[in-house]
């Protein structure tokens, strides 16, 4: 252990502010969303787990898309009936829906797990502002990453498919919409995770609920009723948002988007309600 500089003998004063100027109030206004956004940004980028999550997301998505499109090469003519090259290339984003969702969960639950929440709420006692700042940052951050990644895997996938399968281009009807919407969906998964993190507060429990809702639910539900599974977030994503060729037994794009937005709104709304009501 490093020896700490001895301060016991030194008489210090904490009023170093005559030079620093924290005593000089910044103005008549008060700490609000602007300050909290800056602080939340620092929080997010100063954790190695954020960087690891993004790395796993990008590498994982590129890999899965490669495998998915490579497996679609050189089949018989009949195999390509109803083939959706866009959808095939976006397969890698499923990884992102999980990892970015967990990023959203952690943005809230890790504060409780580590005790940081008490620092956060003494610095910004208006809890709605804190959750709003997190939602804005997590939402916008994952939107940028999601869009970039979506277009990346699309082009990657089309490049692989060009070696011996039908391909798609952004100019074809519905293709651009599917790619752009898929990127946005990644941000929605992150917001869903954030909401669940605010409700559950324990990282393991919140991740379990998130994964249960998105991944496990469709499997369980489809074993009971095939047609209900299409309401699950992951299937809306894969079969409605990311599809150009309408998938049998799936929701329309519009209905899928509305439903996904509703899921996020419910999770974040409930999270905000409980955050305001519960003791930290």
């Amino acid at each position: 252990m490093t020896t700490l500089p001895l301060t016991t003998t030194r008489r210090f004063t904490t009023g170093g502010f005559t030079t620093g100027g924290a005593r000089a109030r910044p103005g008549p206004w008060r700490a609000g969303l602007r300050q909290t956004l800056r602080a939340e940004w620092t929080k997010l980028v100063s954790l190695r787990s954020t960087q690891w999550t993004l790395l796993v997301t990008v590498v994982g998505a590129l890999l899965v898309t490669f495998l998915s499109t490579h497996g679609a090469l050189h089949h018989s003519r009949g195999w390509y009936r109803g083939f959706d090259p866009t959808n095939q290339s976006l397969a890698g984003l499923a990884i992102g829906s999980l990892t970015l969702g967990i990023l959203g969960v952690l943005a809230m639950s890790s504060e409780y797990g580590t005790g940081t929440i008490r620092s956060s709420l003494t610095a910004m006692p208006r809890r709605g502002v804190l959750l709003t700042a997190k939602a804005v940052l997590v939402g916008l951050g994952t939107l940028v990453i999601g869009e970039a990644l979506s277009f990346m895997v699309f082009f990657e996938g089309q490049a692989v498919l060009s070696g011996g399968a039908p391909t798609a281009s952004l100019g074809q009807p519905g293709v651009f919409r599917a790619v752009a919407l898929s990127g946005a969906f990644l941000a929605l998964f992150a917001l869903l995770g954030l909401g669940i993190g605010a409700v559950i507060r324990h990282t393991a429990g919140a991740i379990a609920v998130f994964a249960g809702c998105t991944l496990l639910a469709p499997i369980l539900v489809s074993s009971i009723s095939e047609s209900s599974a299409r309401f699950a977030p992951e299937l809306i994503f894969a079969n409605s948002a990311a599809a150009v060729v309408a998938h049998p037994n799936s929701l329309s794009v519009t209905l899928g988007v509305v439903l996904m937005l509703a899921y996020c709104a419910v999770a974040l709304g409930l999270g905000a309600l409980l955050l305001n009501r519960r003791d930290a």
Binding site: T7, T14, L47, E111, T122
Partner: protein, 314 residues
């Protein structure tokens, strides 16, 4: 200035804090004393707006914590040693904390220097010892140069040097005219720094007083006498109006007379005295006596009586 009025908090049926009212004034260190589980931390969390009271309210400089415009510039708090993410460096922890209240970034370096963490500021805080974590918490409390400071058990996990450092820090902060509330379950620690005391047990106020009054009002003076003729001495003491008792070691402990009176008495009646020691209840004894009925988690010693023996004044 911190003011609480009728602060009450229940967890289910258990009452953690009941109708607690006290005032903490600037310029002196105020000790917030109570046994473990007496509601000190809950009270501090309510003052900081983290827990919502079931009844009553707390004010800092006249307003509720949640209404403060720049909370960290008005109030600094150390709640528990680990209110930071273990994966973030000390410097980054303080950086985001500063940003929430538009506190200039040079203040981060200033408080790192004050608590002596500059050399390890870029290390992940999760690698810190309990004492270093405590220093980081204190740095966070000092960050906004606040006029009101709350410390919950600040010497926990600190080495003797660190403890001495915290004592000086608290005294310096108070001497600069700040309001300083420090919780502890160790009264002797408080006796070294605090001038005022707020004592609670089972969530209710037991005393709100100065340290001097606290000991003076609860002092039970006694004198310990060692003599080869205890029976005669006891008889003489009883006749003189004292209340003597003979301990297991044969020594007499008498209350009701000063040591000077007893010396005169012995000289007048030609009683041999080998030892004559004035005993005073220490702050600790007073505290134990006052809170003994309110200790939540009581331990039982083999010889409970021994624990109540009066100790010489420190």
């Amino acid at each position: 200035m911190i003011v609480t009025r009728g602060l009450t908090k229940r967890y289910g049926k258990a009452v953690a804090v009941a109708d607690l009212s006290f005032t903490v004034s600037p310029g002196v260190v105020t000790g917030f004393l109570g046994p473990n589980g007496s509601g000190k931390s809950t009270t501090m969390r309510m003052i900081l707006g983290l827990d919502v009271p079931d009844a009553g309210s707390a004010y800092i400089n006249g307003s509720a914590y949640t209404d403060l415009s720049w909370p960290l510039r008005e109030v600094g708090a150390l709640l528990d040693a680990k209110a930071f993410h273990p994966g973030r460096s000390a410097r980054n922890h303080l950086r985001w904390l500063a940003q929430t209240n538009d506190i200039p970034q040079n203040r981060v370096e200033a408080v790192l220097d004050i608590v002596g963490l500059t050399a390890v500021a870029d290390r992940r805080a999760g690698k810190f010892s309990l004492g270093m974590g405590q220093r980081l918490g204190i740095a966070g409390a000092l960050l906004g140069d606040p006029g009101v400071l709350l410390f919950d058990e600040p010497v926990n996990g600190l080495d003797p040097e660190g403890i001495r450092w915290v004592r000086h820090l608290l005294l310096d902060l108070a001497s600069e005219g700040r309001t300083v509330l420090v919780s502890s379950h160790l009264i002797n620690e408080m006796a070294l720094t605090a001038e005022r005391l707020v004592v609670i047990g089972r969530g209710t106020l037991i005393a709100e007083t100065s340290v001097d009054d606290f000991t003076a009002n609860h002092r039970s003076d006694a004198v310990r006498i060692v003599t080869p003729t205890p029976q005669r001495f006891v008889a003489a003491l009883s006749r003189a109006g004292a209340r003597p008792s003979v301990g297991d070691d044969g020594a007499i402990v008498a209350s009701g007379l000063s040591s000077a009176d007893i010396g005169e008495l012995a000289a007048g009646q030609a009683l041999t005295v080998h030892e004559l020691t004035p005993l005073r209840a220490s702050l600790e004894d007073v505290f134990m006596e006052l809170t003994s009925s309110s200790i939540e988690y009581r331990s039982h010693t083999v010889d409970d009586a021994a624990a109540h023996d009066a100790l010489p004044v420190r």
